[in-house]
């Protein structure tokens, strides 16, 4: 590992996090380097989503520290889709990525299996799996330095899954990514490193 790679890494050092009396982590260390895709697995309540929020800077650790490289750009698929229901798939992607041209947004959505009217009608009229793919397209289209994916394939139907996985593999190549998942198959398909969080 070169010093440059270490400088570009996102690091959690001896991080502890509690919610009232419940300790989620105690002294957790993690380094995510460019080009690494980490799969974070664990049972419900093990703190997977808390870890995602710490990596995104949405939570502060009670002890320890989280380090991000200067100028790091981030993108995420959250546990919920977090879309504007009255806007179309394209509009939702471009809402947070205003510099992204419309054809590029459409291309990202098409690569995840959304076509035709599905691109232009309000996302509230799309199925849960389609909405999930819109959230995924938004995160991937950002071309961010770090992508955090919290159960990104929830609700995606079996038929679309191989194509979505293939596109994810292409997009995550070379980035730092953290994949929160319950599925060992997803972890094996996408990740190069893994972390299991005990309850």
């Amino acid at each position: 590992m070169s010093p440059r790679d270490v400088a570009l890494a996102v690091r959690l050092e001896a991080v502890s996090k509690r919610y009232r009396e419940v300790s989620v982590f105690d002294g957790l260390d993690l380094e995510v380097h460019p080009g690494e895709v980490w799969a974070v697995t664990g049972a419900n309540g093990s703190g997977k989503t808390t870890l995602a929020r710490l990596l995104l800077g949405l939570e502060r650790p009670d002890a320890g520290s989280v380090w991000w490289p200067t100028g790091l750009t981030r993108a995420a698929v959250f546990q919920e889709n977090r879309l504007c229901p009255h806007l179309s798939a394209v509009a939702n992607v471009r809402l947070v990525l205003p510099r992204l041209r419309r054809p590029a947004a459409e291309g990202e959505l098409r690569a995840l299996g959304l076509h035709g009217a599905d691109l232009t009608r309000p996302v509230s009229q799309l199925s849960g799996g389609q909405q999930r793919r819109v959230a995924l397209a938004r995160a991937l289209a950002a071309r961010a330095d770090m992508v955090v994916l919290d159960e990104p394939l929830t609700g995606v139907d079996e038929e679309s899954l191989p194509a979505v996985l293939a596109h994810l593999r292409v997009r995550l190549a070379g980035t730092m990514a953290v994949l929160i998942t319950h599925s060992n198959a997803e972890a094996r398909a996408l990740a190069s490193r893994s972390l299991h969080l005990p309850v």
Partner: protein
């Protein structure tokens, strides 16, 4: 839908006719038009007033000042609500002042303002003071009720502030601005005209009402009151119409680079 609208309009017209009939009956029973003018006398007076330049100058005088007070309260209320939302110290400073303005009798402000400034400025200041707490409370609630999950998305994706304001903050707050407008416009007119009457602001609707009282001209009182009600309703409708046309307030295409609608009708 259209039939239901026509039915509602018809029942509204019937209710209005009923109350006009009650008014006419009361006027006949009193029998003294200086105490209670009949609807016909009021309508006649309005028809006399409407074509005169003096009438429109009076309407403009009050409208300009009360609208100025309302708009200043909307801007001031928004800024104070934002400051209170952003900083608990600011909230601790602002909250008691707003509570005092809300609780104090309007006439106390009018008298103080008469001591400090001339009567032509009274309606604007009074409307401002009456509407400010309404705007502050509603817009503060709107800021607090914004979709936090979307704000987190904006933060993670580093969405530029202007974009975030247009796409997430303002649409979240606009329904609360509409509610504040519904409450505030009527309040602005009531308080503004009351201030004009007390301060006898030259050239104002309040001055006309005061003159009508001096001359025992109840037809004039009713005519000018109807004018104030009409102006208040018109102002409320106009502001709500403008709010509904803010591009980010409703589903709308996000760019002009495609002729295709982004939202189904």
């Amino acid at each position: 839908m259209r039939r239901a609208g026509v039915r509602a309009l018809g029942s509204g017209a019937l209710a209005a006719l009923f109350w006009v009939a009650v008014w006419q009956g009361a006027a006949l029973a009193v029998g003294r038009d200086f105490l209670l003018a009949s609807p016909w006398q009021v309508a006649t007076r309005l028809v006399e007033l409407l074509p005169t330049a003096d009438f429109w100058a009076t309407v403009w005088f009050s409208l300009a000042r009360i609208a100025l007070g309302f708009c200043a309260a909307a801007v001031g209320g928004a800024l104070l609500a934002w400051a209170a939302w952003a900083s608990r110290w600011a909230r601790a400073l602002i909250a008691p002042a707003i509570a005092a303005v809300r609780a104090a009798p309007v006439v106390s402000f009018i008298i103080l303002l008469l001591l400090w400034t001339d009567s032509s400025r009274l309606p604007a200041f009074t409307s401002f003071l009456m509407v400010l707490p309404v705007m502050y409370a509603n817009l503060g609630q709107g800021l607090a009720q914004r979709d936090r999950s979307l704000l987190e998305v904006a933060w993670v994706f580093d969405v530029p502030l202007g974009r975030r304001l247009l796409a997430m903050d303002i649409p979240g707050v606009l329904p609360y601005l509409a509610a504040a407008t519904r409450a505030g416009v009527g309040l602005a007119w009531k308080a503004g005209v009351a201030a004009e009457v007390i301060g006898v602001a030259a050239g104002s609707i309040g001055e006309r009402l005061y003159a009508a009282k001096l001359h025992l001209a109840s037809a004039d009182v009713f005519a000018w009151t109807l004018v104030v009600v009409a102006l208040s309703v018109a102002c409320e409708r106009l502001v709500l119409w403008l709010i509904a046309r803010v591009p980010c307030a409703r589903p709308a295409p996000t760019s002009a680079d495609s002729p295709r609608p982004e939202v189904a009708p």
